[in-house]
């Protein structure tokens, strides 16, 4: 098969993948005040009608600048904050309507990795307990031996030396801490992992290793990622599909190649033009004009 034909085949294969998560018209408004004492409420529309689908085993990147609503979108769909409106269909159920034990059970399947590996790990817990905590909460093991095996296996999967299980987070470098965070996220073998700027706090040489690890785990476990990032270089490397957000709305959605090779929306174009790249002189004037136009 020719290279192009093979790519086409792979594309088709991907588009027929099973939909694992469906977000419909998700909204999150924050009330900021009232017009007068009895007046109308005023809202900030952080997320204003966002819809997308996530397929099994793919990486969907959400990109945009600070305040565009990318983090609020994933926080709302995970119900870290309760969304104002919308539907999130996970395993044929509306995740937003679940309560109690059902919610807890559904949450096993969707986990999160955070940006800052320094503040997202409890400094008073050993690595063993940090990684094992989700398993403890969900009672997925029967004996201590089973627990230990699960934890050590997971550590191995993320490339952490098993001998470090009794150490504390402060003894690790940023990259290793992010590995601990990843281990904690995958110990229950979720189908979906939400990564919120997982490599933004890391140096480039370490960043590359974490990205490679995420891709490796995806290939092994068929995880679907929702990957939030402001770094378009990283997104281009890891994403299958891309959502571009601006002021609470999705302004463009497409496959990686559509977005990067042939962007349609003006904002996407501006975003792509603003990446400083080695070997390509930037046209700075256009940004000055954009700023003056604001």
């Amino acid at each position: 098969m020719s290279e192009a034909g093979k790519n086409q085949f792979e594309e088709n294969e991907k588009s027929e993948r099973e939909t694992i998560l469906q977000v419909k018209n998700l909204k999150k408004y924050y009330m900021v005040g009232r017009k007068g004492l009895f007046g109308e409420k005023e809202y900030v529309r952080s997320v204003d009608g966002v819809s997308f689908e996530l397929h099994r085993g793919e990486t969907l990147a959400i990109v945009g600048e600070s305040g565009c609503g990318k983090s609020t979108t994933v926080k709302s769909l995970l119900r870290v904050v309760e969304p104002t409106d919308g539907e999130v269909i996970l395993n044929r159920q509306d995740f937003l309507k679940l309560k109690g034990a059902d919610l807890k059970k559904a949450r096993r399947n969707i986990k999160m990795i955070f940006q800052d590996p320094y503040s997202s790990l409890n400094p008073r817990m050993t690595v063993r307990d940090i990684i094992g905590e989700p398993a403890d909460i969900e009672h997925v093991y029967k004996t201590e031996e089973e627990r230990e095996k699960l934890i050590l296996d997971t550590m191995e999967m993320v490339g952490l030396n098993k001998d470090f299980a009794d150490r504390y987070p402060h003894e690790f470098s940023g990259g290793q801490r992010q590995r601990i965070g990843i281990a904690r996220a995958i110990i229950l073998r979720p189908e979906i992992v939400v990564c919120d700027e997982p490599v933004s706090a890391l140096d480039v040489s370490v960043q590359a290793k974490i990205i490679n690890l995420l891709k490796e785990l995806q290939a092994k476990m068929n995880i679907s990622y929702i990957f939030i990032s402001h770094d378009l270089g990283v997104v281009k490397h890891i994403a299958d599909r891309v959502l571009v957000m601006y002021q609470g709305h999705v302004v463009e959605e497409g496959t990686r190649d559509e977005i990067f090779e042939n962007p349609k929306n003006d904002y996407t174009k501006l975003l792509l033009a603003s990446i400083p790249e080695i070997g390509k002189k930037m046209d700075f004037d256009q940004f000055e004009r954009a700023f003056q136009a604001e």
Binding site: E65, S205, I278, F291, Q292
Partner: protein, 356 residues
């Protein structure tokens, strides 16, 4: 005609005095900056790039101390900044050398209007009336691209966006027309589109005012847009220094090569990114030989026991034994013979111990 040097750093040593002993944050560093040019300094966290900025500004604070070397500043009569009194340094800061920092919110006074902060800078350095100073402040605010300077003059930093705050910082840094501007990660906290605006602004003002710039960043992409010459630092040492184009098209030092390979590129598709095995060493446990040797694919026994000096090769200054006999030709030869085997062997070895 060769441009004259505005800044000459000679054998600069900065140490941290800690419980673990004297740590070399900057180890015998030599760099020069030509008037009107931009010197880019790039490296990962802990490489000493921000400490270098502090040293130039005379702001190294305990437990750090400049323990040797000279920082010569000026066009004709160069003065050694490391030997200056606090009073002399205060005079130089603002009029001779200015600095902009990463986080504009924490470097601006939150309780004082932007305009008054700029006026403060002017009256600290010049004998000038209040009204005239205000006019100067408004004019500099306009020159950093802010359209309604009179309005912004009266606003406090919290009322402005991150990009606007950084513009105010730049206005404040340039209001007394310094010869040298030090930018320490000025756009790291900003969004990419705002970053592009600020980078463009710094370049425009540099051209208009003929300022020389030291531009510090961890982002090779940003450095490639800004710098005429680039210094790559690693764990307190200069490992490579060359013309920007040479650094980006033909990096010589294995660390520079590794850094560039690790950046996800927009114009290529690869399944996995190259990474540099291991971690940046802690200053209290620096390796005995070349400081990069534990992570270097080309490292030999000599690299692990002896510290390489900086040598000239193909117009680069590079701290690596590979280039002792000169440039590229030599390197190719070495790669072709024994190094390729060592490289594979080393990769295996590092791979086992490597932790990221």
């Amino acid at each position: 005609m060769e441009r004259e040097n505005i800044l000459e750093i000679k054998d600069l040593d900065v140490r941290l005095f800690t419980e673990r002993g004297e740590l070399p944050v900057i180890d015998r560093l030599n760099l020069t900056l030509r008037a009107g040019e931009t010197l880019g300094i790039v490296g990962e966290s802990g490489c000493g790039k921000s400490m270098l900025a502090s040293a130039i500004m005379g702001l190294v604070a305990r437990p750090g101390k400049v323990t040797g070397g000279e920082i010569l500043f000026g066009r004709d009569e160069k003065q050694d900044l490391t030997k200056m009194s606090a009073k002399e340094l205060r005079r130089i800061r603002g009029t001779g050398i200015s600095m902009i920092f990463q986080e504009p919110m924490t470097s601006l006074n939150p309780l004082m209007s932007c305009g008054r902060q700029i006026v403060e800078t002017i009256v600290a350095h010049e004998k000038i009336g209040r009204a005239e100073a205000k006019a100067r402040a408004i004019s500099i605010i306009r020159s950093v691209g802010i359209q309604r300077p009179e309005k912004v003059y009266g606003e406090v930093p919290a009322q402005l966006s991150g990009g606007m705050r950084q513009r105010i910082m730049i206005a404040m840094a340039l209001v007394c027309n310094p010869e040298l501007l030090i930018c320490d990660e000025p756009t790291t906290a900003l969004d990419v589109t705002v970053q592009a605006q600020i980078l463009g602004l710094i370049r425009r003002l540099q051209k208009e005012k003929k300022t020389s710039v030291v531009f510090i960043s961890h982002d090779m992409g940003v450095i490639s847009q800004m710098a005429d010459r680039v210094a790559v630092m690693y764990a307190g040492q200069l490992v490579e220094y060359a013309q920007a184009e040479a650094i980006f098209t033909r990096p010589l030092h294995p660390y520079t090569q590794g850094l560039q390979a690790a950046i996800p590129k927009m114009n290529e598709k690869k399944d996995s990114l190259e990474s540099i095995p291991g971690n940046v060493p802690m200053l209290y446990e620096l390796p005995k030989g070349c400081i990069f040797s534990p992570r270097c694919a080309y490292a030999t026994d000599r690299c692990r026991s002896e510290r390489p000096q900086i040598v000239e090769a193909d117009g680069h200054r590079v701290r690596c034994f590979l280039y002792e006999q000169g440039g590229d030709a030599q390197r190719r030869e070495m790669k072709a013979t024994d190094t390729s085997e060592t490289k594979i062997e080393n990769k295996k070895k590092i791979g086992e111990e490597g932790e990221g």
